[in-house]
């Protein structure tokens, strides 16, 4: 695809025209320059209290000064959310590594791994929940152009967040599944052990029955206790993971309202342009209507009625004095 860059030619003309323009501008610059920039800053401060424009000007420099504005406050919010999402992504990578280690067969009881998993899972869930709350705050009610930008930023972050949550839950589900498989495997081992013992008792029947029975019972009891402990721990873990799954499901439901359905009319640029134009118009009309009703409003009526009543009472009082 062919393109043509006209910037060099454009710059050439701009420089040429600037040098032609300068003599007329610099004289008014000394007088009008600084004050006009201050005016501009003051005016914009009055209009948009959330903006903090700085103006840098250089009276000695003949080139035009630029007004650099600081971005509005909500941009910080969106950046915070972006940073959170990055952190969450990093932690998820860590988490999958720990998952792998925990699922590998090991001699130790793997307590540190479970602990690490719990911690990481909690952290990630918290990050996602916090991001979602901040995201909800990003919306604004004033129909202005700025609000369109905010809404679009919100949408974009919402779809990122949704994808991340889905990924996280998929990984948790995988881990859960494999954990369950492992648990069944381990439960099988003590059972197998008990069976073995049972067959052995069957073979040693005469004489030392009772003693051996008691012995096996003890052995069996300790095995049972151990497997019970195992099961309880596993249950706890699983229920924790399930809880976080449910929490994330809730987040996803909230987010899916914000995310655009791809391929539908809402995803079309021309449809959104029309809509913005009509909602801004609508908003303006509503404001006008509100102004009108306020003017006509009940308060004014009440106040006037009261004042009239006061006057009437005063007149009556005076009359009473005169007559009596």
């Amino acid at each position: 695809m062919a393109t043509r860059n006209r910037t060099p030619l454009y710059r050439k003309y701009r420089d040429a025209l600037r040098s032609v323009r300068v003599p007329t501008v610099s004289s008014s610059y000394a007088n009008g320059g600084p004050s006009s920039s201050v005016e501009m800053a003051a005016a914009s401060l009055l209009k948009n209290p959330s903006y903090v424009p700085l103006s840098t000007e250089d009276p000695t420099n003949s080139s035009a000064h630029t007004v650099i504005g600081l971005p509005p406050a909500w941009v910080d919010l969106s950046e915070e959310i972006t940073v959170n999402i990055q952190n969450a992504k990093r932690k998820m990578v860590e988490l999958s590594k720990v998952h792998e280690r925990a699922l590998m067969p090991s001699f130790g009881d793997g307590k540190e791994e479970h602990h690490a998993i719990e911690e990481l899972t909690l952290e990630i869930t918290n990050l996602l929940k916090r991001s979602e709350k901040r995201l909800m705050k990003l919306a604004s009610n004033v129909p202005s152009e700025d609000s369109s930008v905010r809404k679009n930023v919100q949408r974009s972050l919402a779809s990122d967040l949704q994808n991340l949550s889905m990924e996280f839950r998929k990984r948790q589900n995988n881990y859960l599944k494999r954990l369950r498989q492992l648990k069944e495997g381990q439960d099988g081992a003590p059972d197998f052990g008990i069976d073995l013992n049972a067959t052995r008792t069957a073979s040693h029947e005469d004489g030392e029955d009772e003693f051996e029975d008691v012995g096996f019972n003890d052995h069996q009891m300790s095995q049972l206790k151990k497997s019970e402990e195992f099961t309880r721990e596993r249950e706890k873990e699983i229920s924790q993971v399930v809880e976080s799954v449910n929490e994330l499901a809730q987040i996803m439901k909230d987010l899916s309202i914000l995310v655009i359905d791809q391929g539908t009319i809402v995803d079309r640029i021309d449809y959104n342009i029309q809509n913005v134009a009509s909602t801004v118009e609508e908003g303006y009309k509503q404001l006008q209507k509100a102004e009108r009703t306020q003017k006509k409003g009940g308060m004014v009526m009440c106040a006037t009625v009261l004042v009239i009543m006061c006057f009437v009472m005063l007149v009556l009082l005076v009359l009473k004095e005169i007559i009596f």
Partner: protein, 563 residues
């Protein structure tokens, strides 16, 4: 490399090198150009958080945003841009124009850029609306101008020609080719457009168009709509063409608000072959096959919906929540297609289109004047046939049998004059514009001995589907080009161009508008013959309503100028 992918690449390149939050500013024409290939979510991924039009600008200053302008280089836009550069609202300005800038325009912009906020000025030649991979349109409003002689309204004719030449040039710049140009001899406007395009490509901006020469030179063929007036008048039975004919598609959007009772979220829908897989697979299917495929899709969807209702374990719940976005999208898609097909079925029943269309196809494809006369008379007497359908039948009859029996034609016209919508003299006017004397191509296949034989063979074989037996004249033209047998006498070359070998890339531009039936022919032909690629473009995309509107408009103008 298709038209859609080329325009997408242009937009990608515009946005990729600029970091930070951006605002995209378009003019009413570039809004269409961008909307058909780029979605809102694509823009969000590129950090474009606001889209505005250049006329509808407020004074709110947003200096944390960088502005990307994508406009047509019209004098109107340059003036608006001037004012905005003099009082800049954004931190940086990146200007992209969809066609060639003139030097004075660059100077005007440079002059108004006192604050030096403009960081780049580029020409990115996406000046056409790429509605399908091999089909583009220019969406020209005053399309009827092509039927007027230049002297009637020289100013409008010039605007029309300029826009067309700009659009065609942009297509070739996007494809990086410089073609050999041929035009239809009998059409003045086609000749004019061909010559002006040649001047632009070979003289005025020859450096810009100086691309690597290939063995087989590409071809641009400029033809006139009036050479095939039958195709836009026919009723259509393949999905995309049918939706446009019965309801109307604009920039791949269908507006169902005035049609009937539709659910609220289906009032405006998008039919894009690039975004919708079901549509891509079915856009050229006839109505019967389409119905079957939709039924299959609905059944599949109902299966999934049923399984979603049986949620018993936490696992099921998790799975449901996981698959919810996918499920919702599928639901929307199924709704959309079902709504469209339902509406179209209703319209077909209401207007008795199956009956009418059979006659239309016979008029277009088979001969037999007496039989045709009888059937048409019967249909005209039938009260349930709507006015516009009656008009179309007569126009088709007139185009075919204009020389055979003028008396009968007069009788039919008299019958028509009872209807309110008919503007008297329209039939004669159409014959004057597009009658057999004015046409170059062999529309009914009865001039050339070979064509007559081919027609007879086809008639004997019988049509697979009587409703889709019509093949537009364009197919014959394409086949002639492929075989290298396009007659020089009918389609001469411009100037001293020379066609090297057989062209492998051909752009056919129909002045006056294309139809979706022709776009279908081109797409199917491209799929069957991968050696040669055809691109089709026009000033608008026609359906019978639009074609008749243009015709009536020109008739009104000629009446007023002659009186």
């Amino acid at each position: 490399m298709t038209l859609v992918s080329v325009v997408r690449d242009y937009i990608d390149r515009m946005l990729q090198d600029i970091s930070g939050m951006k605002v995209l500013i378009l003019d009413p024409l570039t809004v269409s150009i961008v909307s058909v290939v780029y979605s809102q979510s694509d823009l969000l991924k590129k950090e474009v958080f606001l889209v505005e039009t250049v006329d509808n600008m407020s004074k709110e200053s947003m200096s944390h945003l960088k502005a990307v302008y994508f406009l047509r280089p019209s004098s109107d836009n340059i003036q608006k841009l001037r004012r905005q550069l003099a009082a800049p609202r954004f931190a940086e300005y990146h200007l992209f124009f969809s066609n060639i800038l003139k030097i004075p325009q660059i100077q005007v912009l440079a002059d108004s850029d006192e604050q030096e906020v403009v960081k780049q000025v580029q020409e990115f030649y996406a000046d056409f609306c790429a509605i399908d991979p091999y089909h583009f349109t220019l969406n020209i409003n005053a399309n009827h101008v092509y039927m007027l002689p230049t002297v009637a309204d020289p100013h409008s004719s010039q605007i029309f020609c300029d826009r067309t030449v700009d659009g065609i040039a942009a297509v070739f710049l996007a494809l990086k080719k410089r073609p050999v140009i041929r035009y239809q001899r009998t059409s003045d406007i086609a000749k004019r457009i061909a010559q002006e395009t040649a001047k632009l490509m070979y003289e005025q901006e020859s450096g810009l168009f100086d691309f690597r020469r290939t063995e087989n030179s590409p071809l641009l063929l400029v033809i006139d709509r009036r050479d095939d007036p039958v195709t836009p008048l026919l009723n259509q039975w393949t999905y995309q063409a049918m939706v446009h004919e019965l309801i109307g598609i604009e920039d791949n959007k269908v507006d169902l608000r005035n049609i009937g009772k539709v659910p609220k979220d289906q009032q405006e829908v998008v039919l894009s072959s690039v975004q919708d897989d079901f549509f891509k697979a079915n856009m050229y299917e006839n109505f019967g096959d389409l119905g079957m495929n939709i039924k299959r899709m609905v059944d599949d969807f109902q299966q999934i919906a049923k399984s979603n209702q049986h949620i018993q374990t936490i696992e099921d719940m998790a799975k449901f929540v996981n698959n919810y976005p996918e499920y919702r999208r599928m639901h929307g898609n199924v709704s959309k297609h079902v709504t469209l097909v339902t509406e179209m079925s209703r319209i077909v029943d209401e207007r008795k289109l199956m009956l009418v269309s059979q006659t239309e196809q016979d008029l277009a494809c088979n001969s037999g004047q007496a039989a045709a006369l009888e059937v048409v008379s019967n249909l005209l007497n039938n009260e349930s046939v709507s006015d516009i359908d009656r008009l179309r039948l007569i126009l088709l009859y007139a185009l075919r049998y204009e020389k055979d029996s003028p008396v009968h034609l007069m009788q039919l016209c008299n019958k028509l004059s009872r209807t309110a919508k008919y503007k008297p003299g329209l039939v004669q006017f159409l014959l004057k514009q597009a009658g057999v004397d004015k046409r170059t191509g062999d529309l009914y296949g009865n001039r050339d001995l070979l064509n007559i034989a081919r027609n007879m063979a086809r008639g004997l074989k019988g049509a697979e589907n009587v409703y889709t037996q019509h093949q537009p004249l364009l197919l014959q033209t394409m086949e002639s080009i492929m075989k290298g047998r396009l007659r020089d006498v009918d389609y001469p070359l411009v100037g001293n161009h020379f066609q090297q070998g057989r062209p492998q890339e051909v752009v056919i531009f129909i002045v006056g508008g294309t139809t979706y039936e022709e776009a279908r022919t081109v797409a199917l032909h491209n799929a069957a013959n991968p050696g040669t690629r055809f691109f089709l473009g026009g000033s608008v995309v026609l359906n019978s309503k639009r074609f008749l509107k243009d015709l009536e408009e020109v008739q009104r103008i000629s009446k007023s100028t002659s009186v």
